[in-house]
Subunit: 237 residues, 8 copies
């Protein structure tokens, strides 16, 4: 159950725009007062500028890349707004989206990016780099726990409860419900602030260089995964 | 049981040198006719030039880095000779060896280099890079098997049988037996030729870039291992 | 706890008939306003016409076919009424029921039909064909989840909560409780609409032919199961 | 180590033909006295007639279909000769081979055909049907054992020892060794006679209809496998 | 939390007697209106007659017979009263209790009697026979479930909820709490009625002879267990 | 490979009789000098007297009783001769055999009798009692090992090596090979002497009563097994 | 949620002191009426006397000693006050703390001391002895359960509920929250009384000598653990 | 198959003495030239002096102490002779043996002493201390392997092959075979020299204090084992 209500707006060139005013019940820790979900079809609007650090998540028909097609790509500049690209075809190009994914000067933020990067690289044919993964960062920073889900991070580091109830739903349907859109948007709204918190911990404990080495390898690992070598067997004894 | 007999020679500045003439029973596939094992203490001789591609292996008191000290470092230029450095102290520098390990223009060849690199980096404090690992290369090239041990590679790709009988022996003793020295040397004699064979297969199947991405990450992975994050958990879901 | 109350009626030739008016609290998604459970002994009434697509479920004394006898067969034409045949003897024929089971022009709907079909074929000696299984259909359509229980399907696709509380109860007793009868009837009331929803998803994702191939094999698989080859070992490597 | 030596012959339109005279050490149970291995590139010769029942096997770069390409297709009419098609490209058609695979009047014999059929259907785009699988037949006929490998069947039912030593070798290399060719041919030489023996046992024990139901489903199962649903999960409880 | 309150009474020759009036909230299914717990030390009172069918349970310091001593023996004639014998010494005889345990005309009822019988036989040196075990009876009668705990049986067959909260408590302490005494008594109050229900089911399904064969073997099995052959290995393949 | 050769003899009323002279290579420990295998069809000869203690074994089409039919019953009086009854039909009576099986004054010896007794009781409808099982006896007597196979017992207690090579073979074929007949006979030739040895050990260690309790329960256990309760779950916690 | 509120006081030479009045809702079982948490940096105040029996606990950045640094040491004299030493550097000495740890006349109480002792010995270089561990004592005394967590002990033996909610939190941060400080203090407040209860049980059951043997070994075991021999493998068969 | 032959001698007060001359085939590494096995009943001869360091091993009827009685105690002074005490009764004292076991100035050597010490302490009622265990010593010294069986130690450190063939045999029989006596004696002949080798390695690697801490704890651990706390659970988290 989301704890705020989105306001729908008409927005030229987009399918749907939801906007709402945040009641901000938890005081100074909350995001900006006004947020919007922009829903696009098959690509971002040309020329949309999401800044130098973009949070990205994807939704698919399932977890087997060779079988389950990409349905949504969600992006956020970290300003509380989310852009959701609904992918309807299997082969069309998405030049605006690809420009962001492949831009070596735009840092892409993910949570468990290994899967998303593999899906995006396979679907759009561009290397996704450079990247940052809040799950990997948490594994290096938060050694006192084995709970590194997005929900756990957001609760402990930002003091916010998010719902994972729509996680397993039919992302391929033509008429996505408002609950689905909110869930999908929710996964990219917090990544910028999580990165700030995690970087401070990594720095304090002298573990930044280890996490960064993993971020550099992540696009390659995603490529290895999608080429059919799973489970990092290649490094095993 | 080794299938050739080494000839011991006196060599100024080294402890022991073994040399022998190879009976060459298996025809054109064998190595050069004359080989030597040079045994050194705590460092290589100053100025020893092993070329731009050096095969390296290590022997330790066991598999737990924080407990089991490094005993031997074996190196070979790929010419059939082997240099074995016996490491007696826990903290002394080894400038000649460190120069090779840290030289960015010398490619270091390993078989399952992940462990060796971690041990060498922890003991000598230099990053070991760039590297090539025949086990990783085999995992990408030889997808038709799950046998990627050095013994398996040498048998299939070079047609030579090697023994692993001394693998688990007391490498920390002061008086290493001839069988131990031969076994230790044996692990670096074939890596150059294995690399040639594996590179040809990787190239043929279009998998070279995947293996190379792993080689680039390997020194970082070794650092992560020796910092206490085992089993690549950091990438797991 | 069932969320509606059945009304019992006297019905010639049947043992008990329950009928009730549905309060319909959830609006347009609900079934017809008036439903009945007809309880029969050892066979359906002769000449009962349940149409070309019949939902079927069974209840037994347990899951081992060679040990645990068939107790109930539940059927529905998809109109909200359910017919429950209580099977009291081990060997008597049930001509009216067998006519439906074996009729090649009547599609039989099951949820996890593999077990029910095996039980019915073994007890009545007729091949049960053609069939449709909502569990198999869900495995092909809903790849975004691993929850394919009837309760999960009915909740997600129809928006209805059903109870599985009576699932493990004594179906062999002579005086079945109203709770047992409702539970038994409940498993056939929703299969027609589930099939519609699942077929639409299979069609959208181009997976219909895969599910249909499995439906064709299902009566054979049930025969193989009840002949003593379990767990599909026959196809294993 | 094969127990007979092939004789190489020149054969117009083929790459290599090996022929030899069988010393026939095991008396009346052996095959015909003279056998040949015909090696072709990318397709069978046009018009080659292998009769109404063709034994087929394949060799690939490994067991992951989406990663490891098809290297060889071996076929035999059951007369002791074997035809090996070396597949060099990833996308070219092979009309003569496809004619046999897709011909509904030619029975295709496999041992563990599930994998071979999936590979062939994915590479050549034709449904492979009708089929017979000696592994499945053995699972129904030889319930007194859990050893259903080709080597086990050939030993018990035909009294012949075959070697599986080359099973995991580099089938993608350009210069296949004579040992590899013999191993590859060996897997199709015995399937006709195995089928005769297994059919007699199935008939004696009244289990023929169970095996045949599985053969009918096998091409569908192979399609389901290669579409990304593994391990027959779709039928599981 | 027990759902009735015991009344304590003074009773000559016993330590404590609790008695209370049952509020009987659940109508006709409840036990007699007035019940008592009699607490004895080291033996029953001489001459106490508990009839021909006695429900028995025990509490110990743990589950390892060779280590954890017997603390309590609870008995009931099925009339709603319970007798609890607190065992303080390790070697003293208990003639009144032993007379009941060893009497071949008194049927002893247990739930999972295997452990209790072993403990009683080892402590008092008399064979405990004949016996009835409601857990075994349930395994034969209630094949539709895998829940055969006392709590499950009492709920389904008698419609009563009992608590297992005190199950793991310190039965060796000198001052047993009222909660402990009630819990201990509770395990023998329902066995007579459970036996009636289970016998009716066993009879209906024709499984009585199987359960009875197990009851006959149970004292021997308990002896085998306490002699050091655990887990019925002796019958394994 | 059997270490002696049987001599075939013609015997009226039987199908085949093999007889041979034992070369007796192992001195005083061997059996009688002359032994015979008598092969019968569907029953023993009427009036055949095998004494008060008969060793019995069976061969089936596999290990699933409800699927794999009984093929052979082997019996021996302990005099070195073996009688093999080949069972060809599924339902015919075998009065001579049934008389021995059901005779309460004839002790039946088995090795792992649990399965054989279940098969015999299910096929011939007579309770098989009393029984002795050398595997159970060994589990109580030979606590110093976990090897209780017939081969292990015969080696350690009698100093004889027997082969289990034909264990998994096609016992349903019409023309059993001499190797099969010898293997089948071999399983009943040694049970009398094994019983003597094991009884002496059980008596010495005071464990006879434990083994005997299990023998008494064994026919019931076999009945429970064949009624569909496997793995002794009924006694589990 | 802690069930009392601390009062903060200024205390010379310490960073923070919290003090509060206990509302004592649970009657006679509660601790003293007034308690304080004293927070120190890098050592205890010189000359602080905590008596002859000190309860000790530690908090670290995680469970891998070679990776995760010590953050807090909590101590209590058993009077309801707690002293928390925040450890900021990796190498500085803490003479006041070390004097207590190494004093052979001061008994150190832990719950699962194995880890704490290893961490303290590794960080401060003094043997921590003699020790008492409430977890080990519970394993010997409370054989009727397998729940030996601190929370379980405190509930059963003292009747107090404690929270483990802050167990996995970031103990390395500079600004520890009041919730963290209370949680950390809570783990040493009850150990003195738990020891009294457990000693009484050990004495009653004659198991004191077994627990004491383990306490004597515990400092050695901690040393063995931190030297790299984990999981008590050294004693395994 | 032992590689030397014992010579039997008559010896007053003992049952049997075997003596032989060792052919010494392996040169300087062998034991003394003449060795004897002395077999005693129920105790050592009074006054027998085996020196300050005695190797000890035991043989029992199996591995469950509460079930399987002690059969043999073997001792050696390290001079190549072995004394075997056959234990025939369950309760008799053995004063000469007990004097050695309990003597605090005699070091007792075992291989996996944990079990032997527990058996001896339980049977003779004396604490067995001080002790040395070659298995524990090997676990600390030989970290390069996980093979710490007596056979492995004797091979690597002494260059001698010993047989474990009689390990599982009937040690309770009255007439022990020569093979059994030799096997039993063999387990104590090498422990003195193994200790010398292992102590040298422990000393070289600085691990002596860790092994010695375990030796001190070993008699306590044996007591804990035989009191019913297995598997070192008491130290687990």
């Amino acid at each position: 159950m989301p704890f705020w209500a989105w306001k729908f707006e008409s927005s030229p060139g987009h399918q749907i725009t939801q906007r709402r005013t945040l009641p901000n019940p938890q005081g100074p820790k909350r995001l900006t007062e006004s947020m919007a979900i922009h829903l696009h079809t098959d690509d971002l609007p040309a020329g949309l500028d999401l800044g130098g650090t973009v949070a990205i998540d994807t939704e698919t028909m399932g977890l087997r890349m060779e079988r389950d097609r990409l349905c949504l790509v969600q992006l956020s500049a970290g300003d509380g707004d989310a852009h959701i690209v609904r992918v309807t075809g299997d082969h069309d190009a998405a030049p605006a989206l690809e420009t962001i994914l492949g831009n070596p000067r735009i840092l892409k933020l993910f949570h468990f990016g290994r899967f998303d990067i593999a899906v995006l690289q396979a679907r759009f044919g561009v290397p996704v780099s450079p990247v940052y993964c809040t799950k990997i960062a948490s594994r290096f920073a938060r050694t006192y726990t084995d709970r590194h889900g997005l929900k756990d991070l957001v609760r402990e580091l930002l003091g916010i409860e998010i719902s994972k109830q729509q996680q397993s739903s039919d992302w391929g349907r033509g008429d996505l419900s408002p609950e689905q859109l909110e869930y999908a948007a929710g996964d990219v709204l917090h990544l910028h602030r999580l990165r700030d918190e995690l970087n401070a911990m990594l720095d304090r404990e002298g573990r930044t260089h280890l996490a960064e080495a993993c971020f550099r390898f992540l696009p390659d690992l995603a490529k290895i995964d999608s080429s059919g070598w799973c489970d990092l067997d290649v490094f095993a004894h």
